[in-house]
């Protein structure tokens, strides 16, 4: 909201305060100052009217003049050297005397001093309009054709200077959406007297009202006044009125409309003037709009109304969208002679709804939707009538028509004086609190039950003791809240495990030379459809997306990481390994239609990069990614020695036969997908290269499980015995199943004699020497007894039994 300092000064005398002090005050009482703009001439000391008595050419410079200028009626003329030549003797000019500081564009004032110019002393400067900031450019010095008295201060010659504050008024303070409202606040803060505008209690009346009746039919309008004025002469507003409106950025229209706008910005009461001649049927009806009813608002647009909106209508048509905007149909124009002035109070939420629904905001709607002080509505209207009569002539015709009732005044608040100290934590005494609240016109009545505090009618935001604490602090000064040390009691609570995990996972990946990325959660629906299918894409669509590339929630972090790969590659950055942690959104596999939010860690890794090095390292592969993802799983608290990975099938994200999956998100609460991304899809993405990726998905509930402390397991000191064998198996048989089976045979063969500590695959061979479609796996079995060193014979016996079991119970062939 724009606030004119000159306008404020009509209600509170701020002349002793600098602009900076006022700006700071506004900020500290809760009105953020978004801009300060100076209009006209700033206050300038030692700059005044002078008269050129005579001049001659500067003895040492052709283009300079040596002038005698009288700057004070009782003083001798002073010598001033001037470079301009557009003046004559006898001209009245503006002189900046030594000590003056002229404004400049860069903000650093230009100080005028006694100086010597080409050997001649100059005791001041004759100013051009641009030097005073009165014009962008100027030719020569400013000649004052109005011939003000010599010695007059420049600020008296060029009045009309003003400072405009652009402030933010929070939604709880509708009472501050006017100059009077803000003057009240500043008067309270600076502890200065407030002089509200004079309002006549009545006005002289002749004749009858212009309307037969006002018919109030809707609850949206609890209170309505209509004043009739006859014989106005529509014209341009006087200068003071135009200046005031222009100062706050309004365009003057005519004396009647300007008067209503003036009152709106003076005391926050929106008013509406009708051309009485255009009201058909001689009455106004305040009613709900008919569904689909049309009105052409003052901005020239045809608006279609709904039955939830209220209008002010005549007998035939709607003339105003209640509280929001008038129509062209009853507009005051140059030919208007009789007017009806509406002063009303509307229910804030109804006006807000209408304004939103029509996407039509106005100064009126802005105030009505936040709450106008109904108790000041009538006096605002009377003030407006007074201004109209003064500026447009005419006479009040008949009594005002009034419908509806005033709302209740705010309820008094009972509060203990000590509450202020208890809530603030420091000790202003009762008298201090009382004095501060009184500055805000809060009346305090001590009772046996504490204080009974009655807010003024315009402070409907004050309902509870805590609201009063805020008022106290605002005016007392938040800078007076004392500093103190943090004093805490210990609280038994652990960090959310998911946050701990994310941090550990990120640090792990950072240590593996991955770069952490952060991408938007919202992505393009088409892309999700391509990677994850139409069903998931449609499930993740927002109701009200703003942009087509941010219309859906992400089901995976991987597409974002591919964006980063592509971005960095196209910018010539040597990108190799990226990761991200964050929330992703999926369909829950088990039940139809339901969605859930999952935590995820994902990474991408390029097996080959463009960067060349004098030394080649081994390239990462699927198993690099597998190792990494298992480490992440460990970090999440899942300790499985060799989790079983199954190949991924039928996915457009992953490359078949080069990708795998483990875990079950519904059963176990986690899932890992990893491998090479689908090469065809990557190509379409602009990445013509294999990309390894891995993603871990975790349900937040996964971490809710109670984790018991580790219990130490004692281990023996006896040596282990190892036996190796190689098995020829089908090429597509997962190695892990072979290992698992052999592990079973080994346990069966050992029985309870001793234990099988591990069965591991240590070699894989495919190629010549093997039957078609077969591969050879070399496995190593480790045996140990807890109580003795195993003898070769007993291990050999077991080894033979294992081979017999293989021959008897599996299709594997032991490779000799």
């Amino acid at each position: 909201m724009k606030l004119s300092l000159q306008w404020l000064q009509r209600y509170v005398n701020l002349s002793a305060k600098s602009v900076q002090q006022i700006e700071e005050a506004l900020t500290l009482i809760g009105f953020e100052v978004e801009g300060v703009e100076h209009k006209g001439l700033p206050v300038l000391e030692n700059v005044q009217v002078g008269e050129v008595v005579e001049f001659q050419k500067h003895p040492n410079a052709d283009k300079l003049r040596l002038c005698k200028v009288k700057t004070h009626p009782n003083e001798e003329p002073r010598t001033i050297v001037c470079g301009a030549s557009n003046f004559a003797a006898g001209d009245r000019v503006i002189v900046a005397l030594p000590g003056a500081a002229l404004p400049t564009k860069d903000g650093n004032p230009f100080h005028i001093k006694i100086s010597k110019i080409r050997g001649q002393e100059s005791l001041g400067m004759m100013c051009s309009a641009s030097e005073l900031g009165l014009a962008e450019t100027s030719d020569g010095i400013l000649i004052l054709t109005t011939r003000p008295e010599v010695g007059t201060s420049i600020n008296s010659v060029f009045s009309g200077n003003d400072t405009i504050f652009d402030i933010e008024v929070t939604p709880n303070r509708p009472d501050c959406l006017s100059h009077l409202g803000m003057a009240r606040e500043l008067a309270a803060y600076f502890d200065l007297p407030l002089t509200p505008p004079q309002t006549p209690h009545t006005c002289e009346i002749s004749g009858n009202p212009l309307l037969s009746s006002v018919d109030l039919q809707t609850a949206t309008c609890p209170l309505y006044y209509a004043f009739s004025i006859c014989g106005v002469k529509i014209a341009e507003s006087p200068a003071w009125l135009k200046d005031a409106l222009q100062a706050v950025g309004l365009r003057p229209i005519n004396n009647v409309v300007d008067a209503t706008n003036y009152i709106l910005h003076e005391c926050g009461q929106p008013l509406h003037a009708f051309d009485a001649g255009k009201i058909r049927g001689g009455k106004l009806i305040v009613r709900q709009a008919a569904e689909g009813e049309k009105i052409t608002t003052l901005d020239g647009k045809v608006r279609e109304l709904t039955a939830k909106m209220a209008v002010i209508a005549d007998a035939e048509r709607p003339l105003v969208i209640a509280g929001v905007m008038g129509s062209l149909d009853a507009e005051v124009d140059a030919n208007t002679t009789d007017i009806v002035l509406e002063a009303a109070w509307f229910v804030p939420s109804d006006i807000r709804w209408t304004s939103r629904r029509l996407a039509l905001s106005s100064d009126s709607a802005y105030r009505f939707e936040r709450g106008v002080d109904a108790h000041a509505t009538e006096s605002a209207a009377l003030r407006c009538v007074k201004i109209i009569l003064e500026t447009a002539g005419g006479a009040v015709s008949g009594n005002k028509l009034q419908q509806g009732q005033l709302p209740q005044t705010p309820t008094p608040i009972t509060v203990q004086p000590s509450f202020f100290r208890e809530y603030c934590g420091f000790g202003p005494d009762d008298a201090t609190v009382q004095a501060v609240l009184a500055r805000l016109s809060l009346s305090i009545q001590p009772t046996s039950n504490g204080w009974l505090v009655t807010p003024p009618p315009y402070r409907r935001d004050l309902e509870r003791p805590v609201d009063l604490v805020e008022e106290f602090l605002r005016i007392y000064g938040t800078d007076r809240i004392p500093e103190s040390d943090v004093v805490n009691r210990g609280i038994h609570r652990k960090d959310a495990p998911i946050a701990v995990f994310n941090s550990l996972a990120a640090n792990l990946l950072q240590s593996k030379r991955f770069n952490e990325c952060v991408h938007y959660s919202l992505r393009d629906g088409k892309e999700i459809e391509q990677w994850f299918g139409a069903e998931l894409a449609s499930a993740l669509k927002l109701t009200n997306p703003l942009a087509s590339d941010q219309s859906h929630l992400r089901p995976s972090l991987i597409p974002g990481l591919l964006d980063a790969l592509r971005h960095n590659r196209s910018h010539g950055n040597d990108v190799r390994a990226l990761f991200e942690t964050g929330r992703v959104f999926r369909k829950r596999p088990t039940d139809e239609g339901s969605l859930w939010e999952l935590a995820s860690v994902a990474c991408v890794l390029l097996p080959q990069t463009d960067s060349r090095h004098w030394l080649q390292r081994e390239k990462p592969d699927l198993f690099t990614m597998k190792g990494l993802m298992i480490e992440l799983l460990e970090t999440a608290g899942v300790h499985i020695e060799n989790p079983i990975f199954e190949p991924l099938h039928e996915t457009s994200l992953w490359q078949e036969r080069h990708s795998a999956q483990t875990g079950d998100i519904t059963q176990e609460g986690y899932e890992i997908n990893l491998g090479t991304l689908n090469l065809r899809m990557l190509k379409a993405w602009g990445l013509e290269m294999p990309v390894l990726a891995g993603e871990l998905l975790i349900t937040p509930a996964f971490f809710d499980k109670n984790r018991s402390r580790v219990k130490f397991q004692p281990y023996g000191t006896q040596p282990a015995s190892v036996r190796d064998l190689a098995l020829i198996v089908d090429r597509w048989q997962p190695a892990e199943s072979v290992r698992g089976e052999l592990d079973g045979f080994a346990r069966k063969a050992v029985g309870s004699a001793f234990s099988v500590e591990s069965v591991d695959i240590f070699d894989l061979y495919e190629g010549t020497g093997l039957p078609e479609g077969k591969k050879s796996l070399a496995l190593s079995m480790k045996f140990r007894a807890s109580d003795r060193t195993l003898k070769d014979e007993e291990v050999n016996t077991v080894f033979e039994t294992i081979q017999k079991l293989i021959a008897a119970e599996s299709t594997y062939i032991v490779r000799k």
Binding site: I481, D495, E597
Partner: protein, 344 residues
């Protein structure tokens, strides 16, 4: 005998330095001390000597043996040296760059988040997490936001069509949306846990803004909540002063500007002052919102506002990172250019 032994030692001496590999050395050694070696033979010959000569010859043989062993040891040391050198390969040029990728990086937003969180951890706050998909009650109603508050508009908040989010529990049958602040975590924590509470909730939030230099469809916040008996405005200031001094240095100057939030009363915005920013023509920069928890919020989550009081605060991680690191466009955070990521 002595000559014979001297010759033997001389032979070993002469030929030893020519030995380069271990196998040659072993056979060379065997020539002297192996089962058929010349020294072994000499020792065997001792038996045939008359008794009185035995000590003399024995001494000579011993001397020869010691000399040979010294020769062998020197020789072996040289061979081992060579072997080790071979194993190591050519000498290295340490000025060559490591071919390994440069070290990994944490994202500046993550670093800033962890820094903020770690400051509050020191004064007893612990992390609380919530979901990004939320419900209207938890984001607005519980926080005392009026039903027709503009923040709830479709214009400002992202909503979902009527769908079932299994791990985001609704209060009744209100709408699902993307949380506009992490205050919903406060509500869920207040409902699930018991006071006293001191939590910090970092997380991602969403507002329906067109992306530009200062706006982003999602951004990150850290919010804090402190609930105990008889908590005061002074306590709020003490905690925040501690935080700002930790984050911005002991000279950090802040001011509390009264403001309005539906969920706190009184409410403040906190500005911070920095000489660095003054150069840019701005004296005070808004950095956080805070206030005393509104009694209505306590009532909404079933706490007695007569018994419990507290404060809450919230700040944007992007905003703080931009101020601290001097970043002028929020989009840098989401572009993930390595030239950006590697700077922090």
């Amino acid at each position: 005998m002595q000559d014979q032994l001297n010759a033997l030692v001389a032979e070993a001496q002469t030929n030893a330095h020519a030995l380069a590999v271990r196998a040659d050395f072993e056979s060379f050694k065997a020539r002297f001390v192996g089962p058929n070696g010349s020294l072994t033979q000499a020792m065997k010959g001792m038996g045939t000597l008359p008794k009185e000569q035995k000590p003399v010859v024995g001494k000579l043989i011993n001397e020869a043996k010691q000399k040979l062993e010294a020769i062998f040891a020197t020789c072996l040391a040289i061979i081992e040296e060579k072997e080790m050198a071979q194993r190591l390969g050519n000498p290295v040029d340490p000025s060559l760059a490591s071919p390994d990728a440069p070290s990994g990086t944490r994202h500046p937003l993550a670093q800033m988040r962890e820094e903020i969180v770690s400051i509050f951890r020191k004064i007893g706050f612990t992390i609380a997490e919530g979901s990004e998909v939320e419900t209207e009650w938890h984001v607005f109603d519980a926080l005392n936001t009026k039903p027709d508050h503009p923040a709830r508009d479709l214009q400002d908040t992202y909503y979902f069509p009527d769908r079932d989010w299994v791990n985001v529990k609704a209060h009744a049958d209100e709408r699902y949306l993307l949380r506009t602040h992490t205050s919903s975590v406060q509500i869920r924590t207040l409902l699930a846990e018991k006071p006293p509470l001191r939590i910090i909730s970092p997380g991602r939030c969403f507002r329906r803004d067109t992306v530009d230099a200062t706006h982003s469809s999602n951004f990150h916040q850290v919010e804090g909540l402190y609930i105990d008996k008889k908590v005061t405005v002074k306590d709020l200031k003490a905690v925040l002063d501690y935080f700002f001094r930790e984050l911005l240095g002991p000279d950090a100057k802040t001011r509390f500007r009264p403001h309005f939030f539906p969920y706190t009363e009184p409410s403040f915005e906190v500005d911070f002052h920095s000489a660095h920013l003054a150069k840019l023509g701005k004296q005070w920069v808004e950095i956080m919102g805070c206030g005393m928890v509104d009694p209505e919020v306590f009532k909404n989550v079933g706490y007695d506002p007569e018994q419990w009081s507290g404060f809450a605060f919230g700040m944007g991680i992007e905003r703080i990172a931009m101020i601290v690191y001097g970043i002028d466009d929020i989009r840098y955070f989401y572009q993930n250019d390595l030239r950006f990521l590697r700077q922090f």
